[in-house]
Amino acid sequence: MIEFTPRKIQSSFWAILSPIISIGMTIFIGSLIFKMLSYPVMESLYQVFVSPFSRPDRIADIFVKACPLIIIGLGLIFCFKANIWNIGAEGQFILGTLCAGSFALLFPETKTYMLLFSMFIIGFIGGAIWASIPAILKVRLNVNEILVSLMLVYVAMLFIDFIVRGPLRDPMSFGFPLSKVYPDGAIISKVDFPFIGFLGQFHYGIFIILILCPLIWLFINKTLPGFQIKIFGSSTRASEFAGFNKNKITFYVLLVSGGLSGVAGVIEVSANMGRLQPEVSFGYGFTAIIVAFLGRLNPYGVVIAGIIIATAKLGADNAQMVLGIPKVVTGIFEGMLLFFLLAGETIQKYKISIRKDN
């Protein structure tokens, strides 16, 4: 029989080793899958894990891809630390984008970046409003936030679809469901690096992470509200005994996480699309859940996790183009990585021994 005994002291040896082992196991099992599907193993692994790093512009694109994942993931830290399961970041992302985009389209010809600045605020509010629906239902009626937030994703998807096909459709779009192009003041421009020039799609929006990440780290670890969120998540009754307001915490973590998803949407669309379209997100809100957990709900961890997942996604694109490997392979890798990481966490928390029985 296998016995799990909780470790008294967390093993720092395993804390470092377990993510490395998880990645190793993912690569190992991944190559078995490639082998079974009779793709060239080394070549496939090269395409998935190495090719995204093979050229400077490709490296830059990793950050472009990682940007929305990281920003949403940073927001989800709040919820997941408090044990509030916001599964609807995708919907909050869409709604933030839609609000900010509609606002931008009200002011064609605008050149000033004040517009972009207002869009960030409106995007945050839009995402927060969408997240406030599960928040209010949870606080007032104790409705499960997982179901409500998830179902609202589909409402948001259909809503943006309707808006882009109807009220906001560009008459000049030849019947395509696209809005007009954003005014200049609503576009996040690409970074023109000195001596190098443009690198892939690398844009200024990515720098927001440099501000957000340490800020959130400080908030979670060094302030009273951050402490309250952690305590609330680890023991509800004890947090009530301490006098923390349960409803306030539930409400605010959902609002912040929805708001940050909205901001991620504004950046993604303003930097890469420049107009509204039915599909503004490609499952970022769902992938970010994995990113948040891979990053162990630590802001810096989330940045690293976002980069790893983005690499795998771009690698899968390359693998598809070069070798014809189906793109869904990223899904498998994400799943395996998360699985091994959670397994690794068990090794960290428990001592595992095999007991001889009978």
């Binding site: 302030t223 509200p225 402490f227 009754r237 004890a238 005994f241 301490a242």
Partner: protein
């Protein structure tokens, strides 16, 4: 020796040892129980009582040693095998489904196949035979704790056991129910069934058992006839040192002091399906007074504690502190007025198990650290304060830590409780409301906690003590009232209320 010379040994344990990892829970224990003997097993928490009993009942496999039944070597691999050897056990925490009837509960645990009707007849017969009256068609959720225990005992008796193990059977019973239980146990013993009686209550052991085996740190310290040993020396052998007697400092010197807190017609709805509704609870506590609230568990103590602490709210004038109406204020506000609370649940309510003692100090003190209570109150700033406070709590209350500033769940139950009580005392409360302060705490720590409470009352502070432990209530409180099914009896002076009266107030005749 009251036993017959030719009384047979039913079970003999020889040099039984059990190790968990490096920890030696049982260290070559030897024990003999004769047919028809009531044998008490005495020891503090962690002395190894439970492990030994689990070895006998097949829940845990011993690392070393032998068990002989009627002179034959046996290995007991699981509870089913234990039952077929004639060993039955009544656990401290009952394993009954509240939504099922008595007979259904027994039916699902029986090894043999039997129809429900036949079983119901059997239950009635056994009930009559041993003095355990029970209605087989009643649902368990409608039974009192004492009746639930009867169900567990009947469940064992249906298997015709030769040895009945009872783990802390009286911890949840009223005085009357205890007497009833003792009658049943004596009757069983006279019929030849041996009883292994686990307890840490010395008077009870004197009263019911003929032999007592005392365990300390996994070893047998002494095994003698109860007529040859006094309760004092039993206690000393159990804890390994002299027991400090604690005395009430002053009797009723509080009579002329002001009323600290008064509760007026407090009502609360159930918090869960199996919770208790509080009905018209009223009482006053004066400064310098300790009011003991006795009662069998599950009669509204948890709900009362939540109402007093402000975790559930009501009308403003339900609770009046000095002259402030605070029935609708939250726990944070009540703390700022000088009320302090120690809830029953140590891990996960009074403290967060996976954070350090310093952080746990911060948890209830953060209000006092921040002057203006604004949004960005830096934990870094106050961490020095909470660390100083937690160190002084640890030192003042003799909290033994495995290393400095451990996580809360790395402390033993007794030490964690000393820390929690110490934290409340550190806040220098005017009123302390404390629930089950010494539940599951070893004798040494319990008497330290009780003397701290007496000292606090002596310094003119008011204490409300909610406890299941009647001895504790008698030992330190000035007035006693009893909570029964959500209603509270009128307070009576401790010296003027007998255990029998309390039993009647608990609703048992």
């Amino acid at each position: 020796m009251t036993n017959n010379l030719n009384a047979m040994k039913f079970i003999e344990v020889k040099n039984l040892s059990k190790t968990f990892d490096q920890f030696l829970a049982n260290d070559s224990i030897s024990l003999t129980i004769k047919n028809g003997e009531i044998h008490a097993l005495l020891g503090e928490n962690g002395a190894g009582k439970s492990t030994l009993v689990k070895c006998l009942y097949g829940v845990v496999k011993p690392t070393d040693g032998q068990i002989l039944i009627n002179g034959n070597h046996v290995t007991i691999n699981n509870p089913r095998e234990a039952r077929s050897c004639g060993i039955g056990m009544v656990f401290q925490h009952f394993s009954l489904f509240p939504a099922l009837t008595v007979s259904e509960n027994i039916l699902i645990s029986l090894d043999e196949k039997i129809t429900k009707k036949h079983l119901e007849d059997k239950i009635s017969i056994i009930g009559k035979q041993w003095g355990l009256p029970i209605e087989p068609t009643k649902k368990v959720l409608d039974l009192s704790v004492g009746e639930q225990q009867r169900v567990e005992i009947i469940r064992c008796l249906l298997q015709n056991p030769k040895l009945l193990i009872m783990d802390e059977p009286t911890s949840v019973l009223s005085p009357q129910e205890i007497n009833q239980l003792f009658k049943v146990l004596r009757k069983l013993a006279n019929s030849g069934c041996s009883i292994l009686y686990i307890s840490h209550k010395l008077n009870e052991i004197k009263q019911i058992a003929s032999k007592v085996t005392i365990l300390r740190s996994g070893k047998v310290i002494s095994s003698t006839s109860t007529s040859k040993i006094s309760t004092t020396s039993m206690a000393e052998k159990m804890i390994g040192k002299k027991v400090k007697k604690i005395t009430k400092f002053s009797k009723n010197s509080f009579l002329n002091s002001l009323t600290a807190i008064s509760i007026n017609n407090l009502n609360r709805k159930k918090i869960s399906q199996f919770g208790t509704e509080l009905k018209n609870i009223s009482f006053n506590v004066k400064y310098g007074e300790i009011l003991g609230i006795a009662g069998v568990a599950g009669n509204g103590q948890v709900e009362l504690m939540n109402a007093l602490s402000g975790e559930t709210l009501g009308d403003p004038d339900e609770i009046i502190f000095e002259d402030k109406k605070i029935g609708n204020t939250n726990i944070k506000f009540r703390r700022s007025l000088g009320l302090e609370f120690v809830p029953e649940e140590r891990n996960g309510h009074a403290t967060v198990p996976d954070i350090t003692l310093t952080e746990n100090t911060f948890l209830t003190f953060y209000n006092t650290y921040s002057k203006n209570n604004n949004f960005l109150d830096d934990i870094l700033l106050s961490s020095n304060m909470s660390s100083n406070d937690s160190i002084s709590i640890i030192n003042d209350n003799d909290v033994r830590c495995p290393y400095s500033n451990p996580l809360a769940d790395q402390l033993s139950g007794g030490n964690l409780q000393k820390f929690i009580v110490g934290r409340s005392l550190k806040a220098n409360p005017k009123v302390l409301i404390i629930s089950q302060p010494t539940w599951g705490v070893d004798i040494g720590a319990a008497s330290e906690i009780r003397s701290k409470l007496l000292l606090l009352a002596k310094s003119g502070k008011a204490i409300i003590l909610i406890s299941q432990d009647l001895d504790e209530i008698y030992e330190i409180s000035n007035n006693i009232c009893v909570i029964n099914n959500g209603s509270l009896s009128k307070p009576k002076i401790t010296s003027k209320i007998s255990a029998k009266d309390i039993g009647i107030l608990m609703g048992i005749n």
